[in-house]
């Protein structure tokens, strides 16, 4: 087996506590992640599930170094990126892309869809000229199932599902080795959710993407992921291949999470069961 694309050891993160704001003073720090360790192999889709406050979003943002870790180490493709500064990270950025939860906030409202996708292409030298970048952007839009004419539109002119497709297009246009997908279907309707997931499934096999897929929804994770990490209170409870994890959960919390999901079938005993 080849070396993992990502390897994380003893990762700890502390952030300012959003619930406490003493008068005239900075917020106190609270530890969100406690000594997390795991690996992601090339081409693998790893799910991270947990309820609110489990630290799953912080974990994702720390991997792509939007947040600075307070302890531990992160290796990406053999390079230690734990404390690399912006300049040193820049060459690696092309391979570390993110699809955000809320596309309305993550797409600059004053840029057209085309420019949003084309700008990184030019920046990283994937496209040599503005027109080449524009063509590539249009082609990527087609890959994610949007007409190339959408290049000229602004984010507010799109529906939620279309915006999320643009978010995906921006991330994959650079042909990155790794994509972080942070709750990317949680704001969508059931039908858009199903469409975005089948798009991701297609991209996963076509582009051989390595993905960290963060979600609160076990059912969605089961569909998409090869392996699942269950988090609670900033710690990893379970980290196993998807099938076995769902069929025979080892940790009682995983079983509890599973049992709490209401399946679309009549079951008079479900409510009473604990």
């Amino acid at each position: 087996m080849s070396a993992p694309l990502f390897s994380v050891e003893g990762l700890s993160v502390a952030l300012p506590d959003p619930n406490r704001k003493p008068l005239f003073r900075p917020r106190p720090m609270v530890e969100i992640l406690h000594e997390i360790g795991f690996e992601i192999a090339e081409g693998e889709v790893v799910g991270v599930v947990g309820e609110s406050g489990s630290g799953k979003t912080t974990l994702g943002r720390t991997l792509v170094r939007l947040i600075d870790p307070t302890g531990g180490a992160i290796h990406f493709a053999g390079t230690d990126i734990t404390h690399r500064d912006d300049n040193a990270l820049r060459p690696l950025r092309r391979d570390l892309q993110v699809i955000f939860q809320d596309p309305l906030s993550s797409l600059n409202p004053r840029l057209t869809v085309g420019r949003t996708i084309a700008r990184p292409l030019l920046f990283h030298g994937v496209a040599a000229s503005a027109s080449e970048a524009h063509d590539l952007a249009a082609a990527t839009l087609e890959i994610v199932g949007l007409p190339p004419a959408f290049s000229a539109r602004y984010p507010h002119e799109l529906s939620g599902g279309q915006r999320q497709r643009v978010g995906i297009a921006r991330a994959i246009a650079l042909k990155p080795r790794f994509v972080l997908a942070d709750e990317i279907v949680s704001g969508l309707d059931v039908s858009s959710q199903a469409q975005i997931l089948s798009l991701l499934e297609r991209l996963k096999s076509e582009l051989k993407l390595t993905v960290l897929f963060i979600s609160h929804d076990l059912s969605v994770v089961r569909r998409l992921c090869d392996r699942v990490i269950v988090m609670r209170g900033g710690r990893i409870l379970e980290n196993r291949p998807t099938g076995p994890l769902f069929d025979h959960p080892e940790h009682p919390y995983t079983a509890e999470l599973k049992a709490a999901i209401p399946l679309p079938e009549i079951d008079p005993d479900w409510l009473a069961a604990t």
Partner: protein
């Protein structure tokens, strides 16, 4: 079977500026005392609009074109405003979607739980407080005195939703509208809250209209179901037959699109474009017929 308490008949609603483009298209819906009725649809289907009509709190830009909304036989859309507010206050209550935003951050829980009792039903402060304590006990809050003295930010999300459920039952309403009451909650908390709503509804014998986008939740808590698409009712049936034998192709597609961890391969299937298109065609035909009839 007793007469429905909530009876919505042929309700059509549109923007004042565009009366020809209906947002609700001749919607009919009724909920009998003691019944839990699910109202399902994706965003934009008009479910929340129906909830707002029941309390007559539609936005100013929207107007009712036709139809009636009866509470216990009285049409609230044609009543005098003052009588209407009284009727709604005495008979109906809402459990809102997001417990984080549905409690006023600068008021203590006590005032928010009892203001309807004291200001509209005319209870004394003491009596209203006793009632609030009793209800907090009913929703299994261990320390009701402390909760009454708290501000919302001092309580957890699940606790706040319990408070909101207790307040909804405060005036012994005949009808409770629950508008996506568990969407903002974690799954484990969602299950507790669903159980609590079902328990309270049964104990008080209330008619419950449960608005949600989640067919899984519907399957677990509702007896009857109305499915909305594009502001019109595509299916109105009991829950058993809805899941066993969906009559409308859109309902079937919606069920197939709902995620389920036990069947990863045949769930989460995108709604086929033909289904969407044929459903819209039905709606356009109905629109044409309706416009013809109004002429």
């Amino acid at each position: 079977m007793s007469a429905p308490f909530l009876d919505i008949a042929d309700l059509s609603i549109a923007l004042k500026a565009e009366p020809n483009h209906r947002l609700l298209r001749s919607v009919s819906l009724n909920v009998a005392p003691g019944e839990v009725h699910g109202l399902v649809g994706e965003s934009g289907a008009g479910k929340t609009m129906i909830g707002k009509t029941i309390f007559d709190i539609l936005p100013h830009a929207v107007t009712v074109l036709a139809g009636s909304v009866r509470l216990g036989g009285q049409d609230i859309l044609t009543m005098r405003h003052r009588d209407q507010r009284q009727l709604i206050a005495h008979t109906s209550a809402l459990i809102p979607q997001d417990p984080l935003t549905a409690l006023n951050p600068v008021r203590r829980i006590a005032g928010q739980m009892t203001d309807r009792l004291t200001a509209i039903l005319g209870l004394s402060r003491g009596a209203a407080r006793d009632r609030a304590l009793q209800l907090l006990n009913e929703v299994h809050i261990a320390d009701p005195e402390r909760v009454l003295a708290s501000y919302p930010h001092q309580l957890s999300g699940g606790m706040r939703q319990r408070v909101l459920i207790a307040s909804a039952f405060a005036a012994e309403p005949k009808l409770i509208v629950a508008d996506e009451p568990t969407t903002a909650l974690d799954v484990t908390v969602q299950k507790q809250i669903l159980r609590l709503i079902a328990e309270m509804q049964e104990r008080h014998g209330t008619a419950l209209l449960f608005i949600t986008h989640d067919l899984g939740v519907v399957a677990k808590i509702c007896r009857k179901v109305t499915v909305l698409f594009g502001g019109s009712v595509v299916e109105d049936t009991d829950a058993e037959s809805l899941f066993a034998q969906p009559k409308h192709p859109y309902t079937a597609a919606l069920i197939a699109a709902t995620p389920r961890y036990d069947r990863p391969e045949d769930s989460l299937l995108p709604v086929p474009a033909e289904v969407i298109e044929s459903t819209w065609q039905e709606i356009r035909r109905a629109d044409a017929a309706w416009a013809e009839a109004r002429r």
